[in-house]
Amino acid sequence: MNRYDVIVIGGGLLGCFAARNLTRYKLKIALLERREDLCTGISRANTAIVYSGYDMKPGTLKAKMCVQAAQGFGELCAELGVRYSPCGSVMVCFGPRGAKILRQKYEQGIENGVQGIRLLNPQEVLELEPNLNPRVVLGLYAPEAGTVIPWELGIAAAENALQNGADILLNSEVTDITPLENGFKVSCGSQTFWTRGIINCAGLAADEILEKVSSPKIRIFPSGGDYLVLDTKAGGYIRHVIFHEPEQKGKGLTLVPTVEGNILLGPSEVPIEDKDSFATSSEGLAEIKALVSEVIPSLPLEHVIRSFGAIRPNPYWVHLDPLSGRYVPEDKGINSFTILESSPGPFLSLIGIKTPGLTCANELGKYVANKMAEALGDVVPNPAFNPKRPAPLRLNDLPLAQRARLVEENPLYGKIVCRCRKITEGEIVDSIRRKPGAVTIDGVKRRTGSGTGRCQGSFCTQRIIEILARELGCSPAEICKDGKGSYVIRNMNNSSSGKKATRND
């Protein structure tokens, strides 16, 4: 009981994929997640891009993984029943500095083995993206890039891990790790687990987890990024992921035509202090808008329906500053994928995995799972491993006749709850009943897309709270938006009776 071969700490994208790939072996596996749901950290807010692999320095693990991952991404998504838009990407620039960088990236891409990559003259760029600023001077096209919904991918991997025998333990924050002779004792509050090996995928807290057993070498210094989401009405405005290489130093604009038909704009980059703060800044949002006017001036910004802030985990080597007694970062941040093997082991840490972490999630998962299997020694493949995860029903994607049959079988598939995205009560109930299922409004949102449309949940939130309460057998007042404390309803009953309002008004 409570004895595992491997414990994965952290239920973000990387943790989910580490767990999934560990189930390829005959091992007893647990995934520990401190929150009530998966993919609530870095995985929930990023640019959603599958990179083709020309950005990475040739010969690095990152480059190799990224190119390989991009080429197999469609297949991975098919396996996991995840929607993938292989729309390709175009990098554009408006001056000589950018052109030089694009040519370098092209050479790099060729060296890395990125397929189908080519440089485009302005006319060719405008044929691909007619709404772009016609002053574009050069384009770099990569057909193997695409876009995916990060949390959809992560949750699918976790479901697949669960199907293949892994335990997924939510609300389990690791409070202590004690090395033992042959493994570790892992405490989550009053709960204790024993495990032979640990894979640390704790995202922004990966450094803190590692420091429970070893002295600090790497610390994560987060930075924030702001994004804007445009309504599906603006959806056809771009066709590819567009990267903008600016003439001035700094981050260019990125535009993504999302799987669900929106446009995602961003990110700006701003330093932040609080690891829990998914906040947006006025500077960041203003910067995005200024860049839009340079890159794609006619983009209908009146269709913005949401802005959100993301957190990027920037890893730095640190040293102890004798004066202050604090760990301070070395000058340059770490740019490569950092997979630390610490002793006592086997203890593998994925620390500060940034772009292209989403693209490489499965590859990284495979990599650490194989390394762990090797370290444990006596491990054999799991003959029952099934890489396929049954996809949830998405009624909008089905032919009408099939849809009609489903409604006949289950009337809930006929009841539209989220009117903007046309999500039915049946799909919402499914998202709650699946394992691991949604327990919050945002959990339902991540699994079904409800509340992400142009009304941003103003029509459906109450209904979703009531469905969650009914399915989970609790009071609507217990349903949270996004984790403990984020209640929507304070109490079940209004503090004074309703009769006053009808009379006195």
């Binding site: 989401v229 009405k233 829990d276 703060s277 998914f278 906040a279 947006t280 800044s281 006025s282 960041g284 949002l285 203003a286 913005v304 329906i305 949401r306 802005s307 802030g309 009408l400 849809r403 409604v407 006949e408 009337p411 809930l412 006929g414 009841k415 539209i416 046309k422 039915t424 142009r454 009304c455 941003q456 103003s458 029509f459 939130t461 109450q462 009531e466 609507p476 007042a477 949270c480 938006k481 996004d482 984790g483 403990k484 404390g485 984020s486 209640y487 929507v488 309803i489 304070r490 109490n491 079940m492 009953n493 209004n494 503090s495 004074s496 309703g498 006053k500 309002a501 009808t502 008004d505």
Partner: protein
């Protein structure tokens, strides 16, 4: 596929009035589709009074106003489908209905879109900070409080002095909550003067004009907002546990856009109520919707006569000779509500000749959603 002469989408005040008037005008096969479980639309959550003063000469609350029409509909032989949503309206007039009773394909000779409006979400504003729980649009808060019976918070900031925001502010005070302030970016109140007096002043709710919420604080539930004075840029940190937004209503006519498929609105499609433009008073909605119901009837009868009963839209293109002239004129009559104080401005971009209203963002109200309507200002 089931065929109707007229399908009315939306069972709120506009849809009910349009359906009833088409019935009275002589159409026998009418279907009224409502996505909620009951007819009435937003009226059902409006427990306050102020409805019916011109139409019934009597002050009613929302459910009372709705009940008068619901009763008439129950007494008529109109086909009504509740808990049913139209998920697609195609350029040829076919539509797909989705409800617990099944999926249906329906074809209509004329469609009246009375789908109301939605609230502008806070994401459309450049409000920075976190995205915690405890942020509601005014209509959503009103529904949760009035129909759900839920307590949604006790220290409340209201952003935007639209009518719904002010009505909700008063409702919260009546429930014993603290409404710290209603915050308005303009120099004057955004809603009706009557609501400013009856909802805010009478209850001592402060209205802070030339101010906005510039930042949201709190990681789980909202804990405070930063209120910025737009005159001098000064910011103030105001603790609260709830933020209610009333920053504008947007006609919900995506189905019309789907049917138009990038072109003008088809001539068999009529819009009324807040799906056409956002009204101040429900009485006006009823008057206009009744006229739209009659115009849709005329359309159906006329097409029937000229095409010997063949489907209208397969033969008629918008703007072609049959409807130019009198159709044009009738449309102007429909929208020329004598009680409206704004100018008689119309969009002449297509035969619908939508009545336009002048907003801070320019002329609005073209039902095709065109950004720059072709404005023509007429004298009566």
């Amino acid at each position: 596929m089931i065929e109707y002469e007229i399908v009315v989408i939306g069972g709120g005040p506009a849809g009910m009035a349009a359906a009833l008037s088409a019935k009275e005008a002589g159409i026998s096969r009418i279907l009224l589709v409502e996505r909620e479980e009951a007819l009435g639309g937003i009226l059902n959550q409006c427990l306050h009074t102020g409805f019916g003063l011109t139409y019934f000469g009597q002050e009613l609350n929302g459910p009372q106003y709705a009940a008068r029409f619901i009763k008439k509909i129950e007494q008529s032989d109109l086909d009504v489908l509740t808990s049913t949503a139209v998920i697609s309206l195609q350029p040829d007039g076919r539509m797909i209905l989705s409800g617990a009773s099944g999926l249906q394909e329906i074809k209509a000779q004329a469609v009246i879109l009375a789908s109301g409006c939605r609230e502008r979400p806070i994401g459309t504003l450049p409000v920075t900070g976190t995205r915690p729980s405890g942020i509601f649009t005014a209509g959503m808060a009103q529904k949760m409080v009035n129909l759900g019976g839920y307590d949604i918070g006790s220290r409340i900031i209201i952003l935007g002095s639209g009518d719904v925001g002010m009505i909700v502010a008063r409702r919260m005070v009546l429930l014993g909550k603290q409404v710290i302030a209603v915050i308005e970016k303009e120099a004057t109140c955004g809603g009706l003067l009557r609501n400013q007096i009856q909802c805010l002043e009478r209850y001592g709710i402060p209205l802070w004009t030339r101010c906005t919420v510039s930042k949201i604080h709190g990681t789980k539930r909202i804990s405070a907002v930063t209120v910025q004075n737009l005159e001098n840029g000064k910011e103030e940190y105001i603790p609260c546990d709830t933020l209610i937004t009333s920053i504008g209503l947007i006609p919900e006519r995506e189905l019309a856009e789907e049917a138009a498929a990038g072109g003008p609105i088809p001539d068999w499609l009529f819009l009324c109520g807040n799906a056409c433009y956002v009204h101040d008073l429900v009485d006006d909605v009823t008057y206009e919707a009744e006229q739209v119901g009659r115009k849709a009837t005329e359309f159906v009868l006329k097409v029937k006569a000229s095409n010997s009963g063949q489907a209208a839209h397969t033969h008629k293109q918008p703007g072609s000779s049959l409807y130019e002239g009198d159709y044009h004129k009738q449309q102007i009559e429909i929208i020329n509500n004598p009680q409206e104080k704004t100018q008689n401005a119309y969009c002449i971009g297509c035969p619908k000749t939508c009545r336009l209203i002048l907003t801070a963002q320019g002329w609005k109200g073209a039902i095709c959603g065109r950004k720059d309507p072709l404005v023509s200002i007429r004298n009566n």
